[in-house]
């Protein structure tokens, strides 16, 4: 990561899930976020949010120390919005682009909410993968951030449900699907282990985690990429 990402204003974009969120971290560390939730809002609101946040601080794109994009897996449409947006936003500029794998971005949100030393060893993060499936990844909490315990996989709802029932923290936008399973509806799992989407999914969480977790785990999660050649993590290759 370039030093500018910690000293200059940084924009972060999350569109891989039903959450459409844009956040701006200023040089003083303060973070502003604009967010909306729902189907079909991303192609409109992402740009309105970017313009509004930059205008509010009288910033131009060239003033940024970097743009961080939530790179998937997730909704193909959402990923496409962000991928194309950052290409236009950074077209022929020197502002660097960073990609943060989305399940990792959610894990960073969970770590900030629940990852107090000794409280929980880690978490599972989930994103809706349609039909009976979730994108899933397991994470271990460290003092300075999170590190993956498993690769990204597509799992059936029941498999993830078993992990939730075993006492793991499971978080992410895939939770809505889990809650609709038979066990979820029966309320088998205790509420304290459920972290609301608003607490763990969003562009602001990536930025605040970056501030707190600038060591090795963050370096592994947030990678510098060439905007011209950036392709989201669609998971299914074509």
């Amino acid at each position: 990561m370039d030093a500018d990402i910690l000293t200059k204003p940084v924009l972060s974009i999350e569109t891989a899930t039903p959450v459409c969120s844009v956040a701006l971290r200023l040089a003083d560390g303060s973070i502003q976020e604009l967010r909306a939730e729902g189907k079909g809002v991303h192609s409109e609101q992402t740009f309105v949010f970017i313009e509004r946040l930059l205008a509010r601080e009288k910033l131009a794109v060239a003033d940024l120390g970097g743009v961080i994009v939530s790179a998937g897996p997730g909704s193909y449409t959402g990923l496409r919005v962000a991928s194309s947006a950052v290409k236009g936003l950074l077209f022929q500029t020197h502002v660097p682009l960073y990609a943060c794998q989305t399940l990792g971005a959610i894990a960073l949100g969970v770590w900030q909410e629940a990852g107090l030393p000794g409280s929980f060893p880690g978490c599972d993060t989930v994103i809706d993968a349609r039909r009976n499936h979730l994108y899933h990844q397991s994470w271990r909490f460290r003092e300075d951030g999170v590190e993956p315990e498993s690769d990204v996989t597509v799992r059936e709802l029941e498999e993830v449900m078993e992990r939730w029932e075993s006492g793991r923290i499971v978080a992410g936008t895939g939770m809505e699907r889990l809650k609709k399973t038979e066990a979820g509806v029966a309320g088998k799992v205790e509420k304290p282990r459920e972290l609301p989407v608003s607490k763990v999914v969003g562009a602001a969480h990536i930025l605040s985690a970056l501030g707190r977790s600038s060591g090795e785990p963050a370096q592994k999660l947030i990678k510098k990429v060439a905007p011209e050649h950036f392709e989201p993590y669609y998971y299914t290759g074509l």
Binding site: V48, L89, F91
Partner: protein, 338 residues
């Protein structure tokens, strides 16, 4: 003042710069990913757009010799088209609009086909325009730039779609339209009298029945003899099919010209490259005493030059959009110019 145009509605990623008097650049990156599938695969198309949009726009700007300070607005195809493909161009354009602090203009793809003629000439107004491609078959009455009325359209398949689907029945590779045109030139159009649909029903079109008719015609040939039959009569079949499609198109176009009394006729869209259609249109224009305008073949298929030109007309009229501009897959009257 110049306009940057961006097009990504289907399987061509394109960018162009137009300054109101001449086209300064036009770049098209065509996708070859779909040939093995016999048609456009939407997800493949979207990902291909993502891979090349940066370098396509960069080349269009570089070829134009202009910089961002010379660009007044960014015009982009907003629909109709494939949603994923449209999103790539639209989101790139909106991101660029924020960075450059320039307005964005959504352009209806069909409107752009109508105004593609203005790239090379200034047709006499008012005129009637037939837009005919793989996705569209529509007739418009244009009274002045940005003011036009839909007179008729297809109720099912577009003419270009009919060519491609029938070509598949004949064993031709996708896209079959240009191959049918080439083969038809050496065939007998009277070999078989395929039906001409809706000839007495206003200015709307229907081409799905023709496809079924060809299917039934070929099914009547014993299965083991069919490949040899198609092989032996391929040129005549292509000519007969082309005759059926172009007869309908010209019949409706003639009716539209007579109804409006215009003296200029424009044919645009990918199918306007069809040689039988061009010849029949030339004869029709002669007979009606009208001038015929067909854009250069490179501006008949999907391109960004027509988006930049239409965007330029919209800049002149102060018709800008905001960052909430969103794509639409199907033709929408409330987003088309009237």
């Amino acid at each position: 003042m110049a306009v940057l145009g961006i097009e990504s509605s289907c399987d061509e990623t394109a960018a162009a710069v137009y300054d109101g008097t001449r086209l300064l650049s036009s770049v098209i990156a065509s996708q070859t990913d779909h040939i093995d599938f016999g048609g456009i695969v939407p997800e493949l198309a979207s990902r291909a757009h993502e891979r090349v949009i940066w370098r396509t726009v960069a080349k269009a700007l570089s070829d134009s010799g202009l910089g961002r300070e010379d660009i007044e607005a960014i015009a982009v195809t907003e629909g109709p088209g494939l949603m994923g493909s449209l999103l790539v161009g639209l989101c790139f354009a909106k991101g660029l609009a924020i960075q450059w602090n320039k307005p964005v203009i959504g352009v209806n793809h069909i409107d752009a086909h109508i105004y593609a003629t203005y790239i090379d000439e200034k047709p006499q107004l008012p005129f009637v325009s037939l837009v005919v491609s793989g996705g569209h078959t529509q007739i418009f009455h244009v009274t002045r730039p940005l003011q036009h009325k839909l007179m008729g359209q297809t109720r099912d398949d577009a003419a270009g779609e009919a060519f491609d689907k029938i070509g598949k029945l004949l064993g031709l590779a996708y896209p079959a339209g240009p191959q049918i045109d080439r083969l038809a030139r050496e065939g007998d159009p009277s070999f078989y009298d395929f039906p001409r649909a809706m000839m007495k029903k206003g200015l709307d079109f229907s081409f799905s029945g023709l496809k079924t008719s060809v299917l039934y015609y070929l099914r009547d040939v014993p299965e083991q003899e069919r490949p040899a039959f198609i092989n032996e009569h391929l040129r005549d079949l292509c000519a007969s099919i082309s005759a059926a499609i172009t007869d309908v198109l010209i019949h409706k176009l003639r009716q539209a010209v007579r109804k409006t009394g215009v003296k200029s006729v424009i044919i645009a869209g990918g199918v306007s490259a069809n040689s039988m259609l061009r010849e029949k249109a030339r004869q029709m224009a002669l007979e009606l005493g009208a001038s015929l305008h067909i854009p250069h073949p490179k501006y008949c298929t999907d391109n960004a030059a027509m988006i930049a030109v239409t965007g330029w007309f919209k800049v002149r009229e102060g018709m800008f959009d905001d960052l909430q501009l969103r794509p639409y897959a199907r033709f929408q009257w409330d987003r088309a110019i009237r």
